[in-house]
Symmetry: C2
Subunit: 422 residues, 2 copies
C-alpha cells in the first residue's frame, strides 16, 4: 500500500516584528524542510493576510543560504500584519476561508508566530478545521518584544530589545555625565511597552544601585505622581550632578490616562500624539529649569539586530524548531515555551503549553520586581533579566553595514477562483 504524501506546512508571522522573529522563522523552516513528515513549506505573505488572500510564498524556492541568513536578519522577511481575526460568531467566513485555502494547498501544519492574539487565532483555526472535517495541526510560536505572554519564562524578541535598551541607557548616561557640569543635566529615554514595564525594567540593567544611572524608571505598573517624580529628579541632580530617566510609553496616571495623552497640541491646535519623553522632559524643565535632552527609540529598539542578545537569538530559533517537532509528533494546539531551570548559571529548556492557556492573557511586571520607591528594579528583577541579554550575536557586515537578507518571495500558484477581501 502506498503511503500518503506528507502534507504541507504554512508559516505566518503576526503583529509587531522583532530583531529575532526571522530567527524563529529560520528554526521553523529549516526543521520543516528537513522533516519527512512535511511536504512543501509555504509562508503567508504579510502573515494571515497572505493566508486569507491565498498569497503564499514558496519557501522551497529560497536558497539554503537565504534561509540561514534569516537568523541574523531583523523584522519580518515574509511580512507581518496587524490583523486580528474576529470571533467565530462575528466572522465565521474568515475562518472558513482559511480552511478553504488550507484545503486547496493541502496545508496540514500551521505555524503561527505572534503574541497572545495570535495564539487565540491559532487555537480557533485548529478548532474550526476539526469542525469542518479538515484537521490541521496548529502550533504557535511565541513572539513579543513586550515579554507579556504567560506560561513562558520569557518571549523571543524581548531579550534583544532589553539588551538594546540597557546598552543605550548605559551609553547615553555616560554622555550626560560628561556634559552635566555646564549643560545637559536630565536625559529621558522613552521605550516601548504599552501595558507592561518589562522593557523599561531592562533599562535598569545599565547601572547597579540607586546612585548609578538610570536614576529613575517610570513603569506602566506604577501610577505616575508628578510631585514625587519631580522631587526625586531634583534629589538626583543635586546628589549626582545629573539624572537619567527611562520612561515606558505606557506610563500613566492613577486614573489610567497615559502621560502621552496629556493634550499636547501642535501649531494648528491638533492633538499631538506620542512622545512621553518630551513631555516628561518639559515637565522637569518647567519645575526645575534643568537643561535636558530626550530620545525616543521606537522601532530602532525592536529592529536592532546589530546588538541582539545571543540567548534571545538561540531561543527564538529553538522555539521555531520545537514548534515543528511538536507538530510532526501530532501535538496540536500548543505553543512551545521557555522554561528556566536556573538563573546563575542560566539554564533553560523548551516546554509547551496548550494554546487555550496562553490566548488573550497578559503578564505584567510582578510587584516584587519593582523597587519600593517605584522608580527602579529589585535584585530579583535583575536576576530574572540579566541572563536574557547575555551574549552577542553579531550579523555579518558588508561595506560597513549589516548584510541583512531579502527573500526572493516566489509566490505559490493560486488554486482558488474566489478572491477574498480583507
Amino acid at each position: 500500500m502506498k503511503k500518503p504524501a506528507p502534507r504541507n506546512a504554512l508559516y505566518a508571522q503576526s503583529g509587531g516584528v522583532s530583531a529575532v522573529i526571522n530567527a524563529s522563522a529560520c528554526g521553523v523552516i529549516e526543521t520543516a524542510l528537513r522533516s519527512k513528515h512535511i511536504g512543501k513549506v509555504y509562508a503567508g505573505r504579510h502573515g494571515i493576510i497572505g493566508a486569507l488572500t491565498e498569497d503564499l510564498i514558496d519557501v522551497g524556492r529560497e536558497s539554503a543560504a537565504t534561509i540561514r541568513a534569516l537568523k541574523h536578519t531583523p523584522a519580518g522577511a515574509f511580512g507581518s500584519a496587524r490583523f486580528k481575526l474576529k470571533s467565530i460568531e462575528q466572522n465565521r467566513a474568515e475562518y472558513e476561508r482559511l480552511i478553504e485555502v488550507f484545503r486547496a494547498h493541502d496545508i496540514g501544519y500551521f505555524f503561527y508566530n505572534g503574541g497572545n492574539d495570535s495564539m487565540d487565532t491559532a487555537l480557533k483555526v485548529s478548532q474550526i478545521g476539526a469542525a469542518l472535517g479538515y484537521p490541521v495541526t496548529c502550533v504557535g510560536v511565541p513572539k513579543t518584544v513586550d515579554n507579556d505572554l504567560p506560561h513562558t519564562d520569557c518571549c523571543p524578541g524581548f531579550g534583544s530589545v532589553a539588551k538594546y535598551v540597557a546598552v543605550s541607557t548605559r551609553e547615553a548616561a555616560l554622555d550626560v555625565a560628561s556634559m552635566a557640569r555646564t549643560s545637559t543635566r536630565v536625559f529621558v529615554l522613552e521605550v516601548m511597552g504599552r501595558h507592561a514595564g518589562w522593557i523599561a525594567a531592562a533599562g535598569g540593567l545599565a547601572g547597579k544601585g540607586a546612585a548609578e544611572p538610570p536614576h529613575l524608571i517610570l513603569f506602566p505598573e506604577v501610577p505616575f505622581e508628578q510631585q514625587k517624580f519631580l522631587a526625586r529628579v531634583q534629589e538626583c541632580v543635586e546628589a549626582y550632578g545629573y539624572c537619567v530617566i527611562v520612561v515606558s510609553e505606557g506610563a500613566a496616571y492613577a486614573d489610567g490616562k497615559f502621560l502621552a495623552d496629556a493634550g499636547t497640541r501642535d501649531a494648528f491646535g491638533h492633538t499631538q500624539l506620542g512622545g512621553v519623553a518630551p513631555l516628561v522632559a518639559n515637565m522637569v524643565r518647567e519645575a526645575h529649569g534643568y537643561k535636558y535632552h530626550w530620545a525616543v527609540a521606537d522601532y530602532l529598539q525592536r529592529a536592532a539586530r546589530h546588538i541582539a542578545s545571543r540567548v534571545d537569538v538561540d531561543q527564538a530559533y529553538a522555539v521555531g524548531r520545537a514548534a515543528v517537532e511538536l507538530a510532526v509528533r501530532g501535538v496540536n494546539a500548543v505553543m512551545p515555551t521557555l522554561v528556566r531551570k536556573s538563573s546563575r548559571p542560566y539554564k533553560w529548556v523548551i516546554g509547551h503549553v496548550p494554546l487555550s492557556e496562553v490566548a488573550n492573557k497578559e503578564k505584567k511586571l510582578p510587584p516584587d520586581y519593582i523597587r519600593e520607591d517605584g522608580f527602579g528594579i529589585t535584585a530579583a528583577c535583575r536576576r530574572y533579566l540579566e541572563p536574557l541579554i547575555a551574549g552577542e550575536a553579531y550579523p555579518p557586515y558588508r561595506d560597513g553595514l549589516p548584510d541583512y537578507v531579502h527573500i526572493r518571495g516566489v509566490g505559490v500558484r493560486r488554486k482558488l477562483k474566489a478572491e477574498f477581501k480583507v
Copy 2:
C-alpha cells in the same frame, strides 16, 4: 650641565562628546606618557572648566589598563564642558587665569580636543602665553560628530554616528516594510546636525537608489518645501508601500526658521522645544492619513560606542597620537588633520593645519553631494561616506553589557590660593 626637567602636559575635552573622543584621549595620553619630552600628564576635569578652576586630574594615577580601555569607552571620561572663552578683549582675565594655572603646574603642552570653537580657544591660549612670557605649545585635536571642521577630510566622532544612523535606518526600514501592509506606512528618524547635513546624509547609506529606504532625507542645506515633500511621501507609499524619512534636526524653511520651532505647544500653552520628527510625521498624517512611527535618536547616536566604526576609532586614536608627536617636535598652534589619499581602496594619512585656519569655520555638505531632487545623496557623497563607516570595533562585554571604563580621577594638589569663578 643638568638638562631641565621636561614640562608637563594638559589634556582637555570640549563641547559635545562622541563615541570615540576617549579614543583620542587614549592616543594623547599613551603617547604623552611614553614621551621623554613630557613630564606629568594631566587632564582638565570637565575640560577648560577644570583648567580655569585648577581642578586637574593626574592621569599618571590611572592604570595602563584604564587608559587603554578609554579606546573602547564612549563619551568624555574626564568630563567635557560647553564653555566658550570670550574674546581676549571681553575677558582677558580668563586667559590670564589659564596661564597662571599652567605656570603653577609647569604646563608646557596643551592639547585641546574639540570643534571649531575649541580650536579658536587653543589658538588664543598659545598667543596669550607668548604675550605673557609663558610659552605653551597648543595643539588641537579634531572632534565633532557634525563633521563640519574645515581642512580635514573628516572628523573623529562622525564616522561612528554615521554608522549608527545608517545601521539604524536600515533596521527600522525593514521593520516598516514588514508592517506596511496593514499598519505603519511612514517612519521618520530624526538625527543630529544643527547646521550641516552630514549625519542625515549618512542615513542615505542604508539603501541604494531612490527605491530603497530611506526614500527621503531632509537636509539643513535644502530649504523645506512642504507641498513638494508631502507629494513625494505619497509617491513613495504608492510605489513601494511605505516611506522612510531621515530628517536632520536642522531642517529649516527657506527663511531659515527651523521646522522644530514651528510653534508646537504643550497642554499649558508653553512652547514645546525639539522634535522635528514628530512634527514631520504629524504633517504627513494631516495630509495623507498614513499611520506613522517616529524616533529621535538624540544622545543614543553619538554615544553608541557598541556600533562604532573601526576606521573612526583608528582615526580618533591617530589624531590624538599625532597631536603629541607634533607638540614634542615643537610644532605649535596646529591641529592634526585626516588626509584622504584614495577612496577605493580607502587610504588616509595624518597631516596638520594651522589653528588659525580652522578656528570658527564650518564645512557644510557640498551641493554635489545632494541629489538633484534635494531628498537624497549622490554617488559622490556615497563614495565619500562609505569608507568612514567601514569596520566594526566592538567593545568587550560583561554580563551582556559593554564593559566601559570609569577613571579614578585622582585630583592634582592645588597650588593657587585664588579661586576662580566660572
